[in-house]
């Protein structure tokens, strides 16, 4: 009797299992372009698959490459959601009408800066995390040279840092452009360029990738690396002797963003992902993946190692103005002409 019942039960369970499998595939699929580091992309997608049964195909590329891809595919989009990566390319995509407007019901739970990012682009993108700009220095190297620890942007222009500062090239990196725009907003345009010309003498290399200076500082290839602070935290957590500095004059920040590709093939699933990615539980995954940005959901836990904005004086970064393609081209051209071309 009991054996029969067990058999019966197993049969029913099996049938349900089949049914469940059927519904799982009926949930359809989703293609995500991911522009944060691989360690964060993977668990994120896995968690979404577990939560919804939608199967996710994920491609990781830098945000510039992803924007290029979406542009090239504009006639016939392949991706559904573009998740992560610094905000400027997302805003550019919105400006070029490559992404889709969507007002998520989750907007109410977000930090004001994240909502503002959405409002400025007509709800074509939204903030998912934020990270402050700053710099990090290699502590033992600094000690060896007996230089007092820098605290401000101005310190980096001092002669003792000659040839010891590394920063990315705004022509290729959104991080470096954020620095350019930040300094212009803090100091005013002409003084900012005077400062940048002074800093230029201390720069040993303009790297192409935005996060590279943090790595270089971690290995001692350079003394100071200007990056987003969470990039430096990631190096510090893995054991590098780095000290982080939120400059005393104040600093700018990036808003990592998310957009839905216009003409996405799986629009409904894209919206589900969008809503899910703004939830507190989804944003908690970042900390486990060694991503120390500030999550945009107000109730998402903030990783203890994350550089808090309270300690870093943040400027009121005007993304609408400085994210504009024309303004960006103008600033970069001026930088190229007046700073980059100068003698070191």
């Amino acid at each position: 009797m009991s054996a029969t019942r067990r058999l019966f039960g197993a049969a029913i369970a099996g049938a349900f299992g089949l049914l469940a499998a059927g519904t799982a595939s009926a949930q359809g699929s989703l293609t995500v372009y991911c522009s944060v580091q691989e360690e964060w992309c993977r668990p994120m997608m896995a968690a979404f698959e577990r939560a919804t049964g939608i199967s996710v195909a994920m491609t990781r590329r830098s945000s510039g490459e992803t924007l290029t891809q979406i542009r090239a595919e504009a006639q016939n989009p392949r991706g559904d959601v573009w998740w992560g990566g610094t905000g400027d390319p997302h805003m550019q995509a919105a400006q070029e009408n490559l992404t889709q407007e969507y007002r998520s019901p989750m907007l109410a739970q977000l930090q004001p800066w994240a909502v503002r990012q959405a409002e400025q682009t007509g709800f074509r993108t939204v903030g998912i995390y934020a990270g402050a700009l700053g710099y990090s220095y290699n502590a033992p190297e600094l000690q060896r040279r007996r230089i007092t620890a820098p605290r401000c942007w101005a310190d980096l222009a001092k002669p003792e840092f000659r040839g010891e500062v590394q920063v990315a090239d705004p022509n290729t990196s959104g991080t470096a452009y954020t620095m350019l725009a930040t300094l212009v907003q803090i100091m005013g345009e002409d003084p900012a360029f005077t400062y940048l010309r002074a800093l230029h003498r201390n720069v040993n290399q303009y790297t192409r990738s935005g996060a590279a200076p943090a790595r270089a500082a971690a290995t001692g290839e350079t003394l100071v690396g200007i990056t987003f602070l969470h990039d430096a935290v990631a190096q510090k957590v893995s054991g590098a002797p780095l000290e982080l500095v939120g400059p005393c004059e104040g600093t700018g920040y990036e808003i990592g963003s998310m957009s839905i590709v216009r003409g996405a093939r799986n629009m409904d699933n894209a919206r589900r992902f969008y809503d899910w990615a703004l939830s507190a539980e989804a944003q908690a995954i970042g900390a486990e993946a060694k991503a120390y940005q500030l999550p945009s959901n107000r109730s998402a836990p903030i990783p203890p190692q994350a550089p808090r904005f309270e300690n870093v004086p943040l400027i009121d970064y005007d993304f609408a103005r400085w994210g504009n393609a024309q303004e960006r081209t103008r600033l970069i051209d001026r930088w190229q002409r007046e700073v980059r071309a100068g003698a070191r």
């Binding site: 195909a57 990781r60 290729t172 303009y206 192409r208 990738s209 996060a211």
Partner: protein, 735 residues
């Protein structure tokens, strides 16, 4: 094969495509076949009858016109040529004109009205297009072209069509961006972009500003070419004339640059010579040599490129040096010349053509290199990286990228033109130099010492670089000097789990398996197509032969980034929609590596006497039989070599595929780029080590196969395997 046979076969093929196979691509996979003959799987005939694709009626009509004469046993040349070409042009033009959003060519609106959206072409269209090409070719053969051999006509027409579609078409798409300002046609913009100071500025001579990127590129390429040729020459002199027993060692070294994935040498150089590098720290601790950042910039890139190119220069020069007959040198010696005089007046002039070949190969490779300047360039910019960032950087400017790509193309073509000039002379000299016996004169003592002084440190240096690569994957963080042993990186990438069944949990498995699969599919196609084209170019006489040869070589000269983006632009929308599939990767590899196969085939054919073909022809064999029973068996070594090269090239390509990979089809090199970007050198190095071992196994396995397949007669006296091949097949390391 007669024109009639081909014409009938082509008609059958086209009819099959029109009546049975689904005309459009099946986006939802084979499951959509259930709807046949309606729905998305409908063949053209159903679509025509239902009126859904009324604009394709001309295709069906043209096909029907050809049927009666062909079936009655006549092959009217002019008609077949016209219908074949008409079907191809009409199908593709309509595919372009009516896209996913209905009409795309708006000037056709009065004619076409507002047609419904038209998805991409599928199997049916493929068969119709193949059939149309067959009709076209049989028409040409019927009119007496290609020696009236329809098989040759079909091969030529087919490969020309493929090359137009997959090399010329995408290239044209992207380069036309150079004459557009936004959406506006502006030829002035092209002039401005091509002559921009960013490319040609000479400011670095007078001020501290950097020079134009063209000058940078030229300087780097020239230095790379000179240094790698020089080092290669020293190696070759020592190996052939120096009485050194290290020749097998040298030869083993020559295989390394072929199987090294991009970036990894650059990373190893940073580990060794970066400011906190192993060597740098040692020099600082022991000799108080101040630590500097000299590796970032021209010196570092140069070093990495010479590391890759010197072994290839050695291969070329080693072969040339062995081919020089000692009898000339002996003659010189008997007339009383001193050893150095002999070297200067006899050996050196005979080597000149090979030196030029090595120089130009190094030059072209340096132009195409993308990985090394990316990692080691510092502030030093070259064209290949500038193009990449003009497309994918913070400032997106396809017009500028296209103009820079044009400049790079011009440089490469310039180099090829020079090479062609030198090749003409080389033939002349080598023939003169050929003799039989005699003992080669030993090197003059001073020269031997100089060679030794260069060669042994260089070997040590190479060993150090590859030692770092070997070790780097198995220690915690070689970049920071944390040298404790760990399996961590290998496990992250290649973990295998046995819990319930076999599961590949490592994060690199997907990309590794896809890479091997794609490379393994692309390699035979590349080799086959390349050898066929080589045979057509070398053995068949037809008008447009030079053009065909030029087109096969064209893809070699195009920078990888340009190829990648152009493929996305050209094949993302109907009529031919391939992005996101493995097919686009395969096609990209096939057409990008085609020159390797063609060159290898041409070199092998040069060794096989034409009289064999002629004998076969006089005995009544057609082109098919001659190719199958005479030429191909004799070319087996060349085929296998081409296979190995295209496999290895496909596994190490990066700039061309970075925009073509998709979630389901990721590639190893693109994964490595991601690791490098994230600063995870150890993982990137670990993955590269695994790739190196896989490629080593493949190359050695193939070389062993070639060794056994060595031909008894007619093949070159020296082993015709991998050792000689780079002379014919330029290598594109890290491109």
């Amino acid at each position: 094969m007669g024109a009639l046979t081909l014409g009938r076969a082509a008609l059958l093929c086209a009819a099959l495509g029109m009546l049975l196979l689904p005309w459009h691509g099946l986006e939802g996979g084979p499951a959509e076949l259930a709807a046949w003959p309606g729905g998305t799987a409908a063949p053209l005939v159903a679509l025509l009858l239902s009126g859904a694709r009324w604009w394709l009626w001309p295709v069906a009509l043209l096909l029907v016109i050809t049927a009666p004469p062909l079936l009655r046993g006549r092959a009217p040349g002019g008609l077949l040529v016209a219908t074949g070409a008409g079907i191809i042009l009409w199908t593709l033009a309509m595919g372009e004109a009516i896209g996913l959003r209905g009409l795309d060519w708006h000037w056709l609106a009065p004619l076409l009205g507002a047609p419904p959206p038209q998805p991409s072409l599928g199997w049916g269209a493929l068969f119709v297009l193949v059939g149309a090409t067959g009709l076209f070719a049989s028409g040409l053969a019927a009119r007496g072209a290609f020696g009236a051999d329809a098989f040759v006509a079909f091969l030529v027409a087919g490969s020309a069509f493929l090359l137009l579609l997959f090399v010329f078409g995408p290239l044209f798409t992207i380069l036309s961006a150079a004459v557009y300002e936004g959406d506006r046609f502006a030829p002035g913009a092209l002039v401005a972009r091509v002559t921009a100071p960013e490319a040609w500025s000479l400011a670095c001579l007078a001020t501290h500003e950097g020079c134009g990127v063209v000058w940078n590129t030229l300087l780097l390429a020239t230095l790379t070419a000179v240094l790698s040729t020089m080092i290669g020459l020293f190696f070759a002199l020592l190996a052939v004339r120096g009485g050194v027993r290290a020749a097998p060692l040298f030869r083993a070294m020559t295989i390394l640059p072929l199987i090294t994935p991009p970036f990894v040498v650059a990373m190893a150089l940073i580990v060794l010579f970066g400011r906190t590098g192993i060597v740098t720290t040692f020099m600082w601790d022991w000799f108080d040599i101040p630590r500097s950042r000299w590796i970032y910039g021209l010196p570092g890139v140069l070093l990495a490129q010479v590391l890759a190119q010197a072994p290839i220069a050695f291969l070329l020069l080693d072969g040339a040096l062995r081919a020089i007959s000692p009898s000339l040198e002996e003659a010189s010696a008997t007339m009383g010349a001193r050893r150095f005089t002999i070297f200067r007046t006899v050996t050196w002039p005979l080597l000149k053509p090979a030196l030029a070949a090595a120089f130009l190969l190094g030059f072209v490779e340096s132009l195409a290199d993308f990985g090394n300047p990316l990692v080691l360039g510092g502030d030093f910019d070259v064209l290949s990286t500038r193009i990449f960032f003009a497309i994918a950087g913070a400032r997106h400017d396809p017009g500028r990228a296209a103009a820079l790509a044009l400049l790079l193309l011009a440089l490469t073509f310039g180099a090829f033109a020079l090479q062609a000039l030198w090749l003409g002379r080389r033939r002349y000299t080598t023939v003169t130099g050929k003799g039989d016996s005699g003992i080669p004169a030993p090197l003059p003592a001073g020269l031997k010492l100089t060679c030794g002084l260069v060669v042994w440190p260089w070997m040590l240096f190479t060993a150090a670089v590859y030692g770092v690569i070997l070790v780097g994957g198995f220690v915690h963080d070689i970049g920071r000097g944390d040298m404790s042993f760990t399996w961590r990186h290998i496990l992250t990438a290649f973990e295998v789990e046995w819990r319930d069944g076999f599961a590949l949990r490592g994060s690199a498995w997907d990309s590794l398996l896809t890479t091997i699969e794609v490379a393994a599919i692309a390699a035979p196609i590349t080799a086959f197509l390349g050898i066929l084209l080589a045979w057509l170019i070398a053995r068949q006489d037809f008008r447009g032969r030079r053009t065909l040869e030029f087109m096969t070589m064209l893809s070699f000269a195009i920078p990888g980034t340009v190829v990648g983006v152009s493929y996305v632009m050209a094949f993302n929308v109907p009529p031919i929609e391939l992005t996101g599939t493995a097919l686009i990767l395969i096609l990209c590899f096939v057409f990008r590596n085609l020159p390797v196969g063609v060159r290898g085939g041409l070199a092998a054919l040069a060794q096989i006497d034409r009289s064999l073909d002629e004998a076969s022809a006089t005995m009544g064999a057609g082109a098919v039989d001659t190719l199958r029973r005479v030429v191909l068996p004799l070319m087996r070594p060349a085929i296998i070599t081409a296979l190995a090269f295209s496999f290895v090239h496909a596994m190490t390509a990066v700039s061309a595929v970075i925009f073509l990979v998709s979630a389901r089809h990721n590639l190893a090199t693109v994964y490595i780029v991601g690791r490098v970007e994230a600063g995870e050198m150890a993982l990137a190095i670990a993955y590269s080590t695994v790739l190196i071992f896989i490629m080593l196994a493949v190359v050695l396995g193939i070389e062993k196969g070639v060794g056994r397949a060595r031909l008894g007669r007619r093949a070159a006296p020296a082993s015709p395997g991998l050792r000689n091949a780079p002379a014919a097949a330029p290598v594109r390391a890290g491109a």
